[in-house]
Symmetry: C2
Subunit: 179 residues, 2 copies
C-alpha cells in the first residue's frame, strides 16, 4: 500500500476484512474504501499500485462495484484512461447498498416463501399444520421488512435521519397509543 497515510491504510484493510464477512470479496471492498476516501477519481493502474493487487483483479473488482452501482467511470480531459470514483455521500452509498441487498436477498426469498406458502395451503394433512403456520409467520415477517424498506426508502435522507434520531420518543408514544 503505497502513498497512503496510515489511517487510510488501516481503514482500507479493515473495510476489506469486514467485506469478507459480508460476503463481499476482499479486494472489491478495499477498492471501494480507497475510492471512497479519494478526492480525485483514480485509474486502474493507480488502484493497482496503491493496493498492491494484480491488474486483472482490479478490473474484475471494478466491474463488480459498477454492478452494485457503487462506483462509476469518469473521464478526465486529456486522459484516455478510465477513471473511477465511488458514490461520495455516505447516506446515498448505503441507500444503494440496501437496495441491492434487498434485491438480491429479500426479494427472492419473498417470492419463494409465497410459493411455499401456496404449496402448503394446498395440503391439509394435519401433520403439516405446524410447519405451514411457521412458514406463514416467516412470510409475514418478510412482508413487513419489505414494507419497512419501501417506506424508509421513500423518505429524503434528512427526514430518515430525523426519524431515527427521534425514534425512541415516537415509539414510546406509539406504545401508549397501542395500550
Amino acid at each position: 500500500m503505497k502513498g497512503l497515510p496510515p489511517f487510510a491504510q488501516h481503514f482500507i484493510l479493515h473495510w476489506g476484512e469486514m467485506g469478507a464477512r459480508w460476503g463481499i470479496n476482499r479486494t472489491v471492498a478495499q477498492i471501494q474504501a480507497l475510492l471512497f476516501i479519494s478526492e480525485t477519481p483514480l485509474n486502474a493502474e493507480e488502484i493497482c499500485e496503491r493496493l498492491g493487487v494484480a491488474r486483472s483483479n482490479v478490473s474484475n473488482s471494478l466491474k463488480e462495484l459498477q454492478n452494485w452501482g457503487i462506483a462509476k467511470v469518469v473521464h478526465l480531459p486529456g486522459d484516455r484512461r478510465d477513471h473511477f470514483e465511488s458514490i461520495r455521500d455516505v447516506h446515498e452509498l448505503f441507500r444503494v447498498i440496501a437496495a441491492e441487498r434487498k434485491r438480491r436477498e429479500i426479494d427472492p426469498t419473498l417470492v419463494r416463501l409465497r410459493a411455499c406458502a401456496k404449496e402448503a395451503g394446498a395440503t391439509d394433512d394435519p401433520a403439516d399444520a405446524y410447519a405451514k403456520e411457521q412458514l406463514e409467520s416467516l412470510l409475514g415477517f418478510f412482508e413487513l421488512v419489505s414494507e419497512f424498506y419501501e417506506k424508509m426508502n421513500r423518505l429524503p435522507t434528512k427526514s430518515a435521519v430525523h426519524a431515527i434520531r427521534m425514534g425512541d420518543k415516537i415509539a414510546k408514544s406509539i406504545v401508549s397509543l397501542v395500550k
Copy 2:
C-alpha cells in the same frame, strides 16, 4: 430429504441457498430451517436422515446454531439423546440474529472507525483532509445505525411492528416538522 412434505423441502433448500449468500453455511441454514418448522424437537440422527448429510456435519452445525443463540438442546423424558429446537417466534428469532450480526459486524467496525478517525485527527496534512472528512461521515453513519438498533431493540415486538406499519405517516409528520 426423507419424510418431509414438498413445500417443506423447497423451503429448506431455499433457506440453505440464501444462508450461503448471507455468509452462513448451507447445512447450518438448512438445519435451522428444519428445526424452525418442526413442531417437536429433533435429535441429531433424525436431522441427518431428513437432510441427508453426515452426522459430523450435523454435530458441528448444531454447535454453530447454539453459538448464534438460535437453537438449544432439550431433553425428552426417557430419552438420553440430545434433542434440538429452534427459537419458535419469528420476531424473537430475528432479534437474536440482528443482535449477533451487530455484535460481529457493526461493533468492530465502529471501534475501528473511531480509532482511524482519531489517527486521522492527529495528522494535519491538507492532502489528507478529504479522506479524513469522509471517514468521519462514515463513522457518523455507523453511530447512527448503532443508535437506531439500540432504540428498536428496546421496544417490545408489538410496538416495533406498529412503528413500522405506521412508519410512513410518522415520517411524513416529521418531514413537516423539520421544514
